[in-house]
């Protein structure tokens, strides 16, 4: 939807995304990015009107894992604060809504995920229908492979095209100092056919944070704020058997509601952990070659689960901050085979 109150992303920070961070607790992983966005804006914790985070207990392997991260935020005196058990992109959405109500004019949003303590392929299978599907332990790569196979069978892509997506992403990630897999990578063997190692995201740990601000406050805090012109998210049916896996109607609808099709975008940061999912999203969003897709390298180069969607919003905003984009689309996904999708349209003020 298109808001009648101006809200912008004014700062973004992310960790270096790493295969393992055994020496760091979640709090220790989050603290540097919190400090970094506060430093960028000159804000103190006490200047922030609302705080919202995204994470998942299932990655941490314990209940209430987010409570400890909150201790690190320094919630004293007490703060106005909330948490979504989702990717941080949805925490940003909750914070955006809060700013639209007028109850706050700045918000701190953070997200983190450590996949290294467990097997993320198995952990994500716990998202599935607990009575019929989860007991079979279908893992996230196997489900993505079903989707990739459907795409190939429908003639929407082929294995060489998927390999090209994978290669381009890692090549672009060479310019991203935070990426886990920068530079050329072999496409490798099949993990689950038709997906090869190169078509799959790295498993890793990471965190991200952004600061949002409204109107003139945003202009004070950032030379070129990334204005959120619209944002929407939609969910689809859970059972894969009742969805057309070659399409993403939820992404298309969210994009439409966010105003993405009103004018062309120059950049798209897509949360596509698998190369095949970029094919689905490009089609749903009508992106052609003129749009720069995932200049950061995307989730194929770094996929900190629960933060990767927020990173897309942050990367798109950062491109606007530094003048590399004027109108960018950011996308986040959740659930098996792109079940749930969020789209935001970000713009910089026009340059005279």
């Amino acid at each position: 939807m298109t808001p009648d109150r101006e809200v912008a992303i004014v700062a973004f920070a992310q960790t270096d995304h790493l295969r393992r961070t055994d020496e760091l607790s979640e709090v220790e992983m989050v603290m540097p990015v919190l400090h970094e966005v506060l430093r960028q804006t000159g804000c103190k914790t006490s200047d922030i009107g609302f705080t919202c985070s995204g994470s998942s207990d299932y990655l941490a392997g314990r209940a209430f894992s987010f409570t400890m991260a909150l201790d690190g935020v320094g919630a004293w005196p007490p703060i106005s604060e909330s948490h979504v058990e989702m990717d941080g992109a949805w925490a940003l959405y909750e914070a955006w809504v809060k700013l639209l109500t007028g109850e706050a004019d700045t918000a701190l949003v953070y997200a983190y995920g450590k996949s290294s303590p467990g097997s993320v392929r198995d952990v994500l299978s716990r998202q599935l229908d607990p009575y019929y599907l989860a007991p079979l332990w279908p893992d996230s790569v196997a489900l993505a492979a079903l989707q990739a196979r459907a795409l190939i069978d429908a003639g929407h892509t082929d294995e060489p095209e998927l390999a090209a997506v994978a290669a381009r992403s890692r090549q672009d990630a060479s310019a991203n100092p935070h990426a886990q897999l920068p530079g050329a990578r072999p496409q490798g063997d099949y993990v689950v056919a038709p997906l090869r190692t190169g078509d799959c995201p790295p498993v890793g740990d990471g965190a991200a944070a952004v600061i949002l601000a409204t109107g003139d406050r945003a202009r004070e805090l950032c030379a070129r704020p990334a204005w959120i012109r619209g944002m929407d998210h939609r969910i689809e049916a859970h059972a894969l058997g009742v969805r057309d896996l070659t399409d993403s109607p939820s992404t298309r609808l969210a994009a439409e509601r966010a105003g993405a099709f009103d004018r062309p975008v120059d950049t798209a940061e897509l949360h596509a952990p698998f190369s095949s999912q970029e094919v689905v999203l490009r089609r749903a969003l009508d992106l052609d070659e003129r749009v720069r897709v995932n200049p950061s390298g995307g989730a194929l180069a770094a996929n900190p689960v629960m933060a990767a969607g927020l990173v897309r919003l942050g990367e798109a905003a950062a491109r606007i901050h530094r003048g590399a984009s004027d109108r960018a689309l950011a996308h986040a996904t959740s659930g098996p085979c792109l079940q749930q999708n969020l789209v935001a349209v970000l713009e910089g003020d026009s340059r005279a």
Partner: protein, 388 residues
Amino acid sequence: MPKEPVAVVGIGQTKHVAARRDVSIAGLVREAALRALEDAELTWADIDAVVIGKAPDFFEGLMMPELYLADALGAVGKPMLRVHTAGSVGGSTALVAANLVSARVHRTVLTLAFEKQSESNAMWGLSLPVPFQQPLLAGAGGFFAPHVRAYMRRTGAPDTVGSLVAYKDRRNALKNPYAHLHEHDITLEKVQASPMLWDPIRYSETCPSSDGACAMILTDRAGAERSPRPPAWVHGGAMRSEPTLFAGKDFVSPQAGKDCAADVYRQAGITDPRREIDAVEMYVPFSWYEPMWLENLGFAEEGEGWKLTEAGVTELDGDLPVNPSGGVLSTNPIGASGMIRFAEAALQVRGRAGEHQVDGARRALGHAYGGGAQFFSMWLVGDRPPAV
């Protein structure tokens, strides 16, 4: 542009019980949602977005249940958000949904919270080992008992106050058809004779483990005008959080709770909560939290909360009824418990609380807390729209 006023036009709960073996998690939440739609005389097509909450995923062993529940809650093709703020989540979830309406992002929102504790074991869900961190060991009671003891020592409250609260809430629950515990033969002596679990908290002063769900339909001014039954209007809502453990924390009366209440009262124009609020649904999982929260929420001076309880002020027919529904002490599907407090407050001002209706309730407070008494969410609802 001022915020859009938010109205509660539909409320639905399941009959809360120890184990709903006859329904899946999807079946449970759908039951509450359908009852809320029926109350509002709306259909799934009228709902623009769904906001769902529950406590930790380990309580059912299902990660991010909103994904699996999208179909059951009519959310396919719609936005769906999942909130998790520990025990306060039911309240926070309602507030996130209310913000969607007040910001005019959506006009009519279904909000729902649930816990199906029989699917797993909440005690173990809370007891997963974490290296280098102090475990809570004996579940929530073990964590909160020392703070109750500190309250007793600080205020000189006689050790009978807790049993009075439990006796009252369990009797109120008999008037609420959805309450989990219906102890028809309850007496004060039975409460006082029940086993000591975490000194000074006795078995009968402790909440049960319940399966249950609660749903509400929130809508804007235009939606409220079409409502077939009187709506409840949101006059104020807030969340506050503070750290779990730090040297300056007052576990007896956390600052976050005081700040949250003050913010809600400011929004609602309440200057004397004791006189201006007609009914309170507060989150009392262990009986002693009633007198503690009476002080924390500004209904009594510090050290005086237990005197209100002892004098019968908080009884259903007292002048500040607390937990007319029977409260968390009688019904505790953890993730839903906060939303039940919010919903019961709304039922009171809609005049639709049935046998546990407080006569002439015009303003009611719904309260929830969670974590190590660190997360708070509250709303104040009234029978009239808020002044713009």
